[in-house]
Every structure is written in structure tokens, then in C-alpha cells.
């Protein structure tokens, strides 16, 4: 791969990671003022804030790599749903509190493994973003793990909701571990992470928590894929429509 190719690939990769962070951060921020009690409202807001901060770092780096005058905001606000490359699991609606916390567990557990590797990237900026992110993510995981335990092993209703959330989300986890050609190339180059190698570790950890929470591991009979190619659910268009509405209504303005 030529240097120029590698740079373009790194840019694309960085945007994917930025999209993951922004889209999930946006979803979590929808919980603000909707939490089950005040302390949790504030605490979950911190998680959203971590994600939005992370998105800014990725997009900021993307702007640096692109070096064509585009800013972090241009990447966030001017790309359409076909151009977004986030994993599908991040764009699904917030659902009820159990759904959100189960998603959080699945994603946090993935991010823990992922960022732990990205810290070792040959790309110093990605490594630095990961080093900051891993600290946040360990805390996120601590929270989501405890919530899944409480909800799974709480009342019959909370257990039903947590199980339903898990069953509805499970099919979206497969694509997390299926790196495409670009991701494989970058992993080989020591820049990206080979997520296929994270699967068994992830599965073990998730299964352990679910077991403790008395939840059943879903039957693996369905899988939805496409986030990394821009093949999204219908939810993303609405999420972006809202997120980008003001920015796009006033082209070229500074805020």
C-alpha cells in the first residue's frame, strides 16, 4: 500500500470510529431529562458526553488527515446516511432503559477489547484517542454490567424487558467482529484492530455477565449487517435529520 493509500484508508477508518461515537452519543443524549431518577440522569449524561468528546477527537483527526479545509463539524453534519459508516447497533432507537443498558453492555464490552488494542496502534493519534477512551469505557462497562445484573435479576418485569432487549439486539452484534478489507489491511499495517480476534473474548465476558444476570444467551439465528458499507436501518436517517437540521438550514454559518 502506498503512503497515500494508507493515509486515505486511515482517514476512512477514523471516520468510521467517529461515526460510531457520534451516533451512540446522540442516542444516549436522548436520555437526558428522561432518566429513572436524578442521579442516573446525571450519570448517564456523563457517558453521552464521553462519546461526543470521542467523536470530536476522531473527526478532528479526520480533518487533519483530509487537509482539505473540512472541519470536524463538516464530517458530522454534512455527510448523509449513505456516507455514515457506524455499526448498526449504535443507531437503533434508545428503547426502554433495559434496552439501552443491554446495548451499552454489548458495546462497552466490545469497546473495552477494541480500545485496549487500539492503544497499541502505530498511528500515534489513534493510540492517544484510544488511551483516553479506554479509561472512560472501563467505567461505562462497570455501570452497564451492574445495570444488566440489577435488571436481569430484579423483578419479573425488568427481567422480561432485559431479555427482550437482548434478543432484539443480538443480531446486530455479529458485524462488530467481521472486519472488511480496509479494516484487515489496516490491522496488518499495525494501525487498526482486527476485530475478528476479539470475538471469543467478548463472547465469554458477555456470557458471564448474562449468566449472572439470569438472562438467556439468544439463539443465533439472525444477523443484520451493513453499517460499515453505509447500508443502514431506517432509524439513522431520522437521527441525522435531527442532528444536522440547524447546521444544514444555515449553510456556511459559524456557531
Amino acid at each position: 500500500m502506498s503512503d497515500e493509500d494508507l493515509k486515505q484508508a486511515t482517514l476512512d477508518y477514523t471516520l468510521r470510529l467517529g461515526d460510531d461515537a457520534l451516533v451512540l452519543g446522540q442516542r444516549i443524549s436522548e436520555w437526558v431529562s428522561n432518566g429513572p431518577f436524578l442521579e442516573e440522569d446525571i450519570a448517564y449524561g456523563n457517558v453521552a458526553l464521553d462519546y461526543i468528546g470521542r467523536a470530536r477527537m476522531y473527526y478532528g483527526y479526520a480533518a487533519e488527515l483530509a487537509a482539505d479545509g473540512r472541519s470536524e463539524d463538516d464530517f458530522a453534519y454534512l455527510r448523509s446516511e449513505r456516507e455514515f459508516r457506524n455499526y448498526l447497533i449504535n443507531e437503533l432507537p434508545r428503547g426502554d432503559f433495559a434496552y439501552s443498558q443491554v446495548r451499552q453492555l454489548l458495546v462497552d464490552q466490545f469497546n473495552t477489547a477494541f480500545l485496549d488494542r487500539l492503544v497499541e496502534s502505530r498511528d500515534a493519534t489513534l493510540a492517544a484517542i484510544a488511551a483516553k477512551g479506554i479509561k472512560e469505557t472501563r467505567y461505562h462497562l462497570r455501570r452497564s454490567r451492574e445495570w444488566v445484573l440489577r435488571l436481569g435479576d430484579g423483578t419479573a418485569e425488568s427481567r422480561r424487558r432485559a431479555q427482550k432487549g437482548l434478543d432484539d439486539l443480538w443480531g446486530y452484534t455479529h458485524e462488530l467482529f467481521e472486519p472488511d478489507a480496509l479494516e484487515q489491511r489496516l490491522a496488518k499495517a499495525g494501525i487498526g484492530v482486527d476485530t475478528a480476534a476479539l470475538k471469543s473474548q467478548w463472547q465469554q465476558a458477555v456470557a458471564a455477565t448474562l449468566g449472572e444476570a439470569t438472562l438467556n444467551l439468544p439463539q443465533e439465528d439472525w444477523a443484520v449487517r451493513g453499517g460499515r458499507t453505509g447500508y443502514h436501518t431506517e432509524y439513522l436517517g431520522h437521527l441525522l435529520g435531527e442532528l444536522q437540521s440547524i447546521y444544514r438550514s444555515y449553510p456556511g454559518c459559524r456557531w
Binding site: 431518577f37 442521579e39 442516573e40 446525571i42 450519570a43 456523563n46 462497570r142 455501570r143 451492574e146 440489577r150
Partner: protein, 95 residues
């Protein structure tokens, strides 16, 4: 609709190494573990702390207002326990 019935915890924070933990407020949580996490999220959003204590409010034993006189007034007449009580001769201006 059930109201929130979580327990009340008092939060103490050490703002930096070398200082005492100081009472900063209270919060509601299910148990100590969660109280600690919420204290982190609610009381250290601006790097206010390097260490947190949480204590169940019901576990605090506090002196009572009606005991104040017998608890604290007797110490009022012992000024000789304070350095300022002793006059130093002028040539010795610091001790």
C-alpha cells in the same frame, strides 16, 4: 407509580492529596457501590476529587443541639490551651 425509595448517602471528597475528605452533600443510591459511582458522576464532574467516601446517612451518629452546652461550653474557659494565651518577651518574637 412508586416513588424512588433509594437510600440516602453522605458524600465526602478529598480534593487533592494531602487534604482531608470534606463533606460535600448527599445523594440517593441503592447500595454503597452505586453511591460511590453516583458520587463520582454527580460531585466530581470538574475534577474536584482524588478520593471519595460515601456513608449511609443513617449510620452517622451526630451530637445533638440540646447537648451543645454540656459538650462545647466547658471548653470555652480554657484559653491556656491556645498559643495566643502566652505573651512572648519582645526579643523572642517567634516560637
Amino acid at each position: 407509580m412508586t416513588q424512588e425509595r433509594l437510600e440516602l448517602f453522605e458524600v465526602f471528597i478529598r480534593s487533592k492529596r494531602g487534604l482531608d475528605h470534606k463533606h460535600v452533600g448527599s445523594l440517593h443510591a441503592q447500595d454503597h457501590e452505586q453511591a460511590l459511582e453516583y458520587a463520582r458522576d454527580c460531585y466530581t464532574r470538574r475534577s474536584e476529587g482524588v478520593s471519595i467516601w460515601v456513608v449511609k446517612s443513617s449510620d452517622i451518629c451526630a451530637s445533638q443541639e440540646e447537648d451543645s452546652e454540656s459538650f462545647f461550653d466547658p471548653a470555652d474557659d480554657k484559653p491556656y490551651r491556645l498559643a495566643g494565651y502566652y505573651k512572648l518577651p519582645d526579643p523572642v518574637d517567634n516560637m
